[in-house]
């Protein structure tokens, strides 16, 4: 296989899968069929796909409006409807889409026949209440308890873990009952196992892909390329197409690692990203770093926004429901830890990924991922000698994105990195 066949394949295939996905959603919308609205942190695709329910990810729909530079139209419409400028931009963009009967830049969105949400983000809960009011659809709040105290995770066998696991398993069984009612279909345990098998393949591959970015040069940009992979990881979880895509992705990344093929950036600085991307200037934001030789080799976004599937948890197909309960608990809890304790994971990465710096990017729209970042950064600075940059902007609202001051700060950050490197060279 030649370089041109394999290098960049995941980005091409990912874009095609996305187009296919939105085509399916448009067909569902036009045909009036049921769909399930879900979220990235614990989509429960494993259950929903076993009922062949098309899944709609409102977060992905919303961020698409920002990437396509039309988010402001949606935000304004929701604000005119009554929503505050100070709430989650994803929610507002979706409210406007609902008011527009599913109109979206990539197609048409079906109405929710069912909404399933976890508590990984509280706004999920408020958001689903909006659909409940607008559409009268059933909503299922899937409660997955997280870590009670930093570093205090419990594991199977511990009474507290088992209390959580029983709760999650009970809810799984209740969700299955609800899906049976909504679809009019009986739960098929064999189909469920098949879906879990695909999810296992994807999770294992996702973990492997993230680890492969230890390579020098890094084999993908965690901020840009990684977001494409992440989209597939969410939308196609539990499907054969998704598992195949990730198998190919591993092949591509291994090929690149073996042949010393990096990203388009001439890699001088290896960076970790903490937070949610700046979608209103998605490419430009990345260029602020790549033009100075910086590339993002890791991103907490790829962990929490994949619902913690980066852990690579493997379901035991011999006891599928019990194992899914355990996997959800461990994975979604990990996603929450990635948001609330990012410094813990980043600390481990400093050596493993040869990090030169860390970019914290709190956004106005998302308090879940942003509230603790300043404090997390302080903790990181106390524990490790790694420079960091703190850039505040937004994931949706271009009114809150000030590119010029942002560029000044990024430039100063790189000057600082260069100065450190020179000082280190002199010291040697």
């Amino acid at each position: 296989m030649s370089d041109s066949e394999i290098v960049g394949r995941a980005n091409r295939d990912g874009a095609q899968l996305f187009r296919d996905w939105f085509t399916e959603l448009t067909q569902t919308a036009d045909g009036g069929g049921p769909s399930a609205y879900v979220f990235v942190m614990g989509s429960l695709n494993e259950v929903l796909k076993s009922f062949d329910l098309p899944v709609v990810f409102p977060e992905i729909n919303s961020l698409q409006t920002a990437v396509r530079r039309v988010a402001h139209e949606y935000l304004q419409q929701a604000e005119d409807y009554g929503y505050s400028p100070d709430i989650c931009g994803y929610v507002k963009a979706d409210v406007a889409m609902q008011l527009r009967h599913g109109e979206h830049p990539m197609g048409k969105l079906p109405k929710p026949g069912l909404a399933v949400l976890t508590n990984a983000c509280n706004t999920y809960i408020k958001w689903a209440e909006i659909w409940e009011r607008m559409h009268g659809c059933p909503i299922f709040t899937f409660d997955i308890p997280g870590t009670r105290q930093g570093g205090g995770q419990t594991w199977p066998g511990d009474p507290d873990f088992e209390n959580d696991r029983r709760y999650v398993e009970a809810q799984l069984r209740e969700l299955i009952e609800l899906c049976e009612r909504v679809t009019g279909r009986k739960f098929d345990i064999d189909k469920f196992r098949e879906v879990l098998g695909h999810a296992n393949g994807m999770s294992a591959a996702w973990k492997q892909v993230l680890e492969l970015n230890r390579s020098r040069p890094s084999v993908f940009n965690a901020l840009t390329d990684g977001t494409i992979y992440l989209g597939v990881a969410n939308g196609f979880r539990g499907t054969k197409a998704g598992a195949d895509y990730f198998r190919d992705l591993v092949e591509e990344m291994e090929y690149k690692a073996a042949n010393g093929i990096g990203t388009l950036t001439e890699e001088q600085w290896r960076l970790a990203f903490v937070g949610v991307p700046c979608y209103p200037i998605f490419r430009r934001f990345n260029e602020l770093f790549t033009l100075a030789g910086g590339t993002f080799v890791s991103s907490t976004y790829l962990w929490f926004a994949s619902g913690g599937t980066n852990r690579g948890f493997q379901y035991d197909l011999a006891r599928p429901i019990e194992s899914l309960a355990e996997g959800l608990l461990v994975s979604v809890r990990d996603a929450m830890d990635s948001m609330f304790h990012p410094e813990r994971a980043v600390l481990d990465q400093i050596k493993e990924f040869a990090l030169d710096g860390v970019v914290f990017h709190p956004v106005k729209s998302c308090r879940t991922t942003s509230t603790g970042q300043a404090d997390s950064r302080r903790a990181l600075a106390e524990k490790a000698d790694v420079p960091s940059l703190f850039l505040e902007s937004d994931m949706m609202d271009r009114r809150v994105v000030a590119e010029a001051p942002m560029k000044n700060r990024v430039d100063a950050f790189f000057e600082g990195l260069a100065s450190r490197r020179r000082q280190a060279a002199i010291a040697r």
Binding site: G82, D86, T371
Partner: protein, 386 residues
Amino acid sequence: MIVFPDWSNRPLDAALAECRDLVEDTTFPTVRRWREGGGKVAGHFQVYFPEEIVHAAGMLPFKVRGAPLEPTRADSHFGSYLCSILKTSLEAVLTGAVKMELFVSHPICDAARNLAAIWGRNFSHPCQILYLPQNPNSRHSVAYLRGEYDRMRRTVESVAERKIADDDLRRSIAVFNENRRLLRELYEIKRETPWLVSAEDAYSLVAAGGLIPREEHNELLRTLLPQIRARARKSEDRVRVVFEGGFCEQPPLDLVRVLGRMCYLVDDDFLIGLRYLTADVPAGKDPLRDLAESYVERSTYSPVQHDLRKPKEKMLLERVRGARAGAVIVAAAKMCEPGLDEQVAYSKALDLEGIPYFLVEFEENMTSFEGVELQVETFLENLLFA
């Protein structure tokens, strides 16, 4: 040990003034006295928390609800676009204004759910999340919560360095049941004879409960409520108003005073976490289960609690009807996402019912009230002279 003797044996107005002073005192003198007497403190962030478990261990449950402070030191621990209560709560501890042996928050909102992590990085005492069930509609939620309360019991035991027996819990439940009854009585006075107690005094009487041992709070209420009932005051021609939006960050007492001067605040959700169980907790065979079942089945709604059986706009309408209110002040703390989200649902529901409402944002640190006063006054005059 008595930590709030200031009101005792004083005339009613003087006693109420002491309560107002206590609530506005950012040095938290009652907590300090408790600690000086050798007591331990468990701070629990808004909204819901089973204080009975802490009380049963002989510790003081302290309601962490921010304070009218400048977050000089806490500011650097947070980014922008956040509500004030997060910062001032941390400020109070960073500056040593209040000290505690345990801090517990629960995931009421996206911002607050970060608190246990933030506090945990800055203090050596345990800083935990209590995961109350966010799917109370699950058939398993009571059993789960019973287990989670048991975990909290073990945590408190290790901090208090003593065991909590079921009988300890039953005794605490009895103390809190009396407190709930007395607070219901206070709210009955607000609803039925609002001219007998000003809005700020009613507020202060409730808020004191988060700062002193509940036995003392019970004594305070037992003494003052009959005196309030016995007041010789006449009803005035004022609009009966419900205030909604005080479930977490609190409006400054001055704002409550300003509002109370213009209308009768006949019901509200101020400090709802101090009175979130709407009925007595049965003191049965398994007190932890009783507490868990009470939370799932008989706790009050708020924008940070999701229960399919309790759509919030329907619950607000019930509150309005129950209080025979003619209008609603639908408030939200600045940058409070759940409060701001709910303003939309509330206003749409009130529109449908033809109930007048006034939307407002506030901040615990606000010091200027002229603008709000003018707007609310105009709103109320329009109703009175419609």
